[in-house]
Symmetry: D2
Subunit: 377 residues, 4 copies
């Protein structure tokens, strides 16, 4: 395989995770160390760009992402900037013929997302979205079981992503609380993850009935300040959703989930079985099989906690991933992108996936305003 040379755009917390994760891939899959290289990094300030290039060990850095796009020795860009810059950067990168790996959510709204999906299609570049949670082995296992008919007819489903990051009213304003920077609140930030997992496992949504709330409507402009500014995004979003076949589900999204750290979970109920996943125990998938009742010993039905760690296809040292962490799943998401480039195959999760999630989120916002079901076009 040819060496792939990545230009990293943005080097905040998530940019650093992406950088570290690229480095781990050769060890996970027995590849030459230099098969994947971060060839340059761009941030918005000279000092952070310099610091980033030192940590990464790359020769080129800039305070303008366009400088990266202009270089011939960059094959792909990885976009780790705030939501409100995705549209501009993706359009420029596609125009420059770079493959694109972009953090979620894809865009500020459906209109942007549509333009971006069209742009990468027109430019014929590979474009993947960072829905990293898909890459826990337990999720792959769930997907495989669903495909194999383990659950049978789906009766209903439930998803949730709770964090407690905003429960204190003393927590000051930040870009994550401003619509102009993010496009949305908990729904966009947390909801995009759990909605993608449900969509990945169960397919398209056809309608939603959602209620969004902003529980703390003004926050200090700075830590300890008595001056406040308005919060104009949701911090809670509850949703009922329908799949095209009528299957009903419920989704709970909250930044006000007191006691939660990363409380992401889902359940899928069917006539043959059930599945449960909880990010608090990321190495495990819980499965229930109605067929267990037919076993010779009789009556051993019950939820089974099956270990799903150490099962990445092609992984070298299975025990590495006793309980895969955040960086491992990012590495896997990146590896799938790089493989798609190498093999000239469609990457997944695609921008089309990101667009569908954007449509669900926008429908949820409209539903909340009108207090009733909204059908996705």
């Amino acid at each position: 395989m040819p060496k792939i040379r990545i230009g990293l755009i943005g080097y905040g917390g998530i940019g650093r995770v992406h950088a570290a994760a690229y480095r781990a891939i050769p060890f996970h899959y027995g590849l030459p160390a230099d098969s994947i290289a971060i060839a340059g990094v761009a941030t918005t300030r000279r000092e952070t760009a310099d610091q980033a290039s030192r940590e990464i060990g790359c020769d080129f850095s800039s305070d303008d992402y366009r400088a990266l796009l202009a270089r011939d020795d960059i094959d792909a860009v990885d976009i780790c900037t705030p939501n409100n810059s995705h549209h501009e950067i993706v359009l420029a990168a596609a125009a420059a013929g770079k493959h694109i790996y972009c953090e979620k959510p894809l865009a500020m709204n459906v209109a942007e997302a549509e333009a971006m999906a069209q742009a990468v299609k027109d430019a014929d570049v590979k474009a993947q979205l960072t829905f990293n949670f898909r890459f826990f082995p337990a999720i792959a296992r769930a997907k495989q079981l669903l495909k194999a008919g383990f659950v049978g007819r789906v009766f209903s489903f439930r998803g949730r992503y709770h964090r407690a990051s905003y429960i204190s009213s003393d927590k000051p304003m930040s870009w994550r609380l401003k619509r102009e920077a993010t496009g949305g609140g908990a729904l966009f930030d947390l909801g995009s993850h759990i909605l993608d997992l449900l969509y990945y496992l169960l397919g398209d949504f056809s309608a939603v009935n959602a209620t969004l709330d902003t529980l703390i409507e003004r926050r200090p402009v700075a830590p300890g300040s008595s001056e406040t500014a308005p919060v104009d995004v949701d911090d809670i979003a509850f949703m009922h959703a329908r799949l095209p076949d009528g299957t009903l589900g419920t989704v709970e999204i909250s930044r006000m989930g007191t006691g939660a750290t990363n409380d992401l979970s889902f359940e899928i109920f069917g006539d043959k079985g059930a599945l449960r996943f909880d990010l608090g125990e990321p190495a495990w998938l819980h499965v229930y099989d109605t067929r267990d009742a037919d076993s010779p010993l009789g009556g051993e039905r019950g939820f089974r906690k099956i270990e799903a760690a150490g099962r990445y296809a092609g992984q070298r040292a299975p025990d590495w991933t006793m309980s895969p962490d955040f960086m491992r799943v990012h590495a896997e998401c990146q590896y799938q992108f790089i493989r798609a480039v190498w093999k000239d195959e469609p990457p997944s999760p695609s921008f089309a996936d990101g667009l569908h999630i954007q449509r669900i989120m926008e429908a949820a916002e409209r539903s909340s305003v009108n207090g009733r079901w909204v059908t996705l076009e």
Copy 2:
């Protein structure tokens, strides 16, 4: 205290539980054995009435509940019959001046429930509803903590009652699947329990946005039969709900919760703390306290699993209730009723409580038909 003489109406599964539970009360509270007596029993058939009186050890039995009401040696009736007979029996019992202990849900609809609440008020008899789940010690503990401000401002709540009792499409029709006998499906049967717990802990609901579904629309008329009949009640009911102060919550009710047996649980999130209860571990309450962070050792925030068993006020032998079972909570619910009679105090849960639950359920049904929020009057 004068002896209380109870007439039991209905002796199916739940009637037998009620009968056994009365017998346990004197031991729990150190009362004379004869202070609580089942003085008579009525069912709809002579044979079952005879069998009941033998098990109970009472002298009087009848196949007509009116014969019970006619007796002077009956102080109170306990109604364990199907939902569609509650209205008639309650009105007759109130007219006969008997105190009334009635199984949930109170009635077939709001109109009936209103008439019943009025009737017991007019007759000035004590009337209590069997919302037995309130009487797990963990629920009392949750109530006490909420009152003491442990949770602070409530951000949101979630309740659930899942059973898997109807997941097989081979399961034949029964009275529980017919609206004319029950008034409603999973919403009435399971929902009344979890709705009452949330109402007990958090107060009145002001609006709901619900979706009800019947997943298996026809069932065999008898086991193994190829003839089918229509199911005209819901087997799944998902709900968003508002309290008068705007607090938003979500409720999941399902008879199609594959893998569940009695999966009743709730969570309450607030700015000071959070509470969780799960009937799968009935002896425990999970609490989270944001104030833990201020402890001298620092940073020990986390969900705490506190034992709530063995804490019935006045209970004689604390260890009895390591993990209180179904019968113990029924005994407690009955004991509260009997105490209300003895002390001439208002019983709780009252028929007014039952009426509020009925209003929520009826609003949920209307909401589901219209696909939008419905405000409770």
Copy 3:
């Protein structure tokens, strides 16, 4: 079946539980109310005997158990007195031709236990020990699975019973801390329960290697007193044990298990499967089946949490026992005793079982003194 008339000896906390449990049996099994009667009660003081007879509703009471034994209208006695009186009462009851139901542990030592086992054999009376924990449905399920070969060859086992009842050094002396009253400490009080469960499931023990400790060696003679008295029984007992086929296990017994309430659990590991039980979740048995790997969907091995509640053979109303509590398992243990009397069959758990547990406990004490393995004769 003829009516069985029981004389209850002792009416402390556990006596009250026994009394209440007898009352529940007719409802659990659809028996006539008067088929099981407590016909008399004896304690050591007139006032407590009177109070007991009022709660129980029986005509006869005495402050001398011999008065009970002298009565013709008593078929069986139930012994709920401290350990140091069991030997005397059992011998007298056997001599009086009464059937005997006796609380655990059987005796103060092996010599007493042998005499007692011999006495009931000679008198040809039914004699059963109250190893009530055997009667959780999950334990019956475990027994059934072991018999059916579910676990295969047993590799090892582990048992534990932890309580935190004595962790405070302010807790004053009581009879439970005096060898002359109890025969032993945590080993006798808690250990007899978990040792019986392991013995019930796995069979005889052949050797033990134990270490006993008394962590708080002196305690106040009364609450708040500065005067102290020596504790001469163990509050912790750790044990390795061998079965006759060499299978090795470990047992942990402690009254100093900080954080525990009734932390009784066991695990059994075998080449075909594994079992786990935890009294914290008494309705459930955890099973692991190595054969799960051969399922068509592949690789779903994992611990399965199977519900074992509501499964008492012959039980009338299955849902009564969602999570059977202390009283329900006592009722079941009593019911087995009464059935043995009615059917003239050997009762189980028998005095021979109690004697074997006594031998294990005495061997453990000797092992601890000598710091090495002791073989059971």
Copy 4:
């Protein structure tokens, strides 16, 4: 800080983990990419050495570790070879003046371990052992709480490491089952980890009473072969242990723990509180505080599940480590070694620590042979 140049010896599964983990350190701590470099690798065969150097991206490789030791551009060696080579390599590396990072267990026996500890002392090189499990944040949290007196007087402790890796009798012989290659079986391989955690948290052991067993005494020489060879190491090791102050604990080590994958856990009970850790939930520490009872709301004692992830001192992006995996804890262990070199401080876990664990293991083996307590010198 000067660049540290590491020579890696051994590149099996664990060697690959070590190599990858070094690469992640700069991102975790914001260091220049080239501050830590793997400058060479040695295995026992040319091909594996070449493959290793390609994955690592280093210029030098050899099939003789002595070639590494001979190079001036190597500051430290990292030993990832089987146990029976540790002694020879450590002595040679110390003689060559290289700092040493060595996989556990330190040696084949106490005699070797003593010589190694002496050699690194004489050569005045930094020498650290890979007890990587110490570096879960939850363990650091436990250590901190113990130091702060959270648990008070320790009543007792329990440790366990179960895997199910050898439960099938079809599993063929391997070097891990031969004493000449490993020095010991489950006790050495798994036991060294859990013993080190207990020692790290509680201090020196003073005596042990252990029983070791080999449950499957012969295994096929190759997969599917009917020829068998003897297993001469333990696959189960149960231990009672004393600390110098008399505190009693119990340790369970097994390769035959049916159903386990990496079932490592411990509990520490004290008069003020208790701690629990379970590797199945590596992000969490469970704590119990007897002082909780004194809170204004009263009676909220219970085990609290506190999140300990994202708390590495100096870590850049806290969310990386939602649930730190195997590679993250290795990186942390390595980072502590590198810091010790940079700061010229004593590294920890030291070879003296490794020697103490070796003494415990050897005493356990002697105890098992003699069936009684053995005191550590």
